[in-house]
């Protein structure tokens, strides 16, 4: 589809920032409030309840650390895809985006293993304040990972045909934000015991 066939909202920008990237920044800004509010609520409750440290000691530290490594590596793939898109190498960008999505899949598989283990041990969302926050925070983050993977695969399909390459950067921005959220979730849920 040519640029002229698109709605004017997609083809012009009065802010100096391409519309797609502008929207991505707004999404990220709203996500900051959503995750920031949840994280702030968790922090204040955690400080008010030192006994939650005992519950936190049951989380799988090594699974959390491994998932951090997975997300950092997938972010590297996402930003390298952006670099390839800037060089108009659509096929390479698509390949890197698919590897990024694979990283997301690995992350979710580790999370599924971790949660099933927690649930088998009797730690469910209603097992106490800590576990409520644990499942809510990690679950909401996991949904963002899943959404990012789906969008990434759609963007990769277009990028493989050298179409809509500007979207590669946008989905990358979103993915890096999801990475940053996990960077804070890891110490809050797995290290602070």
């Amino acid at each position: 589809m040519s640029a002229s066939a698109k709605p004017i909202s997609n083809t012009r920008s009065g802010t100096g920032i391409p519309t797609a990237r502008l929207i991505t920044w707004w999404v990220i800004a709203s996500e900051i409030v959503i995750f920031g509010g949840l994280l702030a609520s968790y922090v204040m409750h955690r400080i008010g309840h030192p006994e939650w440290a005992e519950a936190a000691s049951h989380t799988n530290f090594w699974a959390g650390a491994f998932n951090t490594l997975v997300l950092l590596t997938s972010s590297l793939c996402a930003v390298t895809a952006h670099k390839a898109a800037d060089a108009h190498e659509g096929a390479r960008a698509a390949k890197l985006l698919r590897i990024t999505a694979l990283g997301g899949l690995v992350f979710l598989c580790v999370k599924a293993f971790e949660w099933s283990s927690d649930i088998r041990e009797g730690y469910v969302i209603s097992s106490g304040g800590f576990w409520s926050f644990y499942y809510t925070l990690a679950g909401l983050h996991g949904l963002h990972v899943l959404a990012g993977m789906i969008i990434m695969l759609i963007v990769a399909a277009d990028a493989a045909k050298n179409r809509e390459l500007q979207r590669v950067e946008c989905i990358g921005l979103y993915w890096h934000f999801v990475d940053i959220v996990w960077i804070f979730l890891f110490p809050l849920l797995y290290i602070a015991r």
């Binding site: 640029a3 997609n10 083809t11 012009r12 920008s13 009065g14 802010t15 100096g16 920032i17 391409p18 519309t19 797609a20 920044w25 990220i28 800004a29 709203s30 900051i32 409030v33 920031g36 509010g37 994280l39 702030a40 609520s41 922090v43 204040m44 409750h45 400080i47 008010g48 309840h49 519950a55 530290f61 650390a65 951090t68 950092l72 972010s75 590297l76 996402a78 930003v79 390298t80 670099k83 800037d86 009797g122 730690y123 469910v124 209603s126 097992s127 106490g128 304040g129 576990w131 990358g172 921005l173 890096h176 990475d179 940053i180 960077i183 804070f184 110490p187 809050l188 290290i191 602070a192």
Partner: protein, 125 residues
């Protein structure tokens, strides 16, 4: 003077960022992750706190600067993000005193120290 609207296709024709050595940035991030992991085994509380949260802030800043290119984005984008962070700080400042303290002058929260029923049931099992 208001910025004149530009066709997006022109703005997308050229990269707006300089791409640094991403492998190097990733290596630094992984090294910081190792610092977090090793630091968490320390018995010195300030070391654990720095390894957990100090390193997290550094890692987040590295990702935002080098992967998200926040610093080269149009000026108001970082301000937009900072304003949203300020909302979070306001939420924390407004609610934290009630949540973090369980008693004060002429008030207390007798239920605050009681474990949730679910936790008690899980422990019983």
């Amino acid at each position: 003077m208001a910025r004149q609207a530009q066709p997006e296709s022109h703005m997308q024709a050229e990269a707006h960022v300089h791409h640094p050595n991403y492998i190097k940035v990733w290596a630094i991030l992984v090294a910081l992750l190792m610092v977090s992991v090793l630091g968490s085994f320390s018995h010195i509380r300030p070391v654990v706190l720095f390894a957990a949260f100090g390193v997290a802030v550094i890692k987040a800043a590295l990702v935002a600067k080098n992967f998200m290119h926040v610093t080269v984005e149009k000026g108001w984008v970082p301000y937009l993000l900072i304003v949203c962070l300020l909302f979070v700080v306001i939420l924390f400042a407004g609610v934290a005193p009630d949540v973090m303290k369980h008693s004060g002058e002429h008030w207390n929260k007798p239920l605050a120290n009681q474990p949730a029923q679910g936790a008690a049931a899980a422990k019983h099992e």
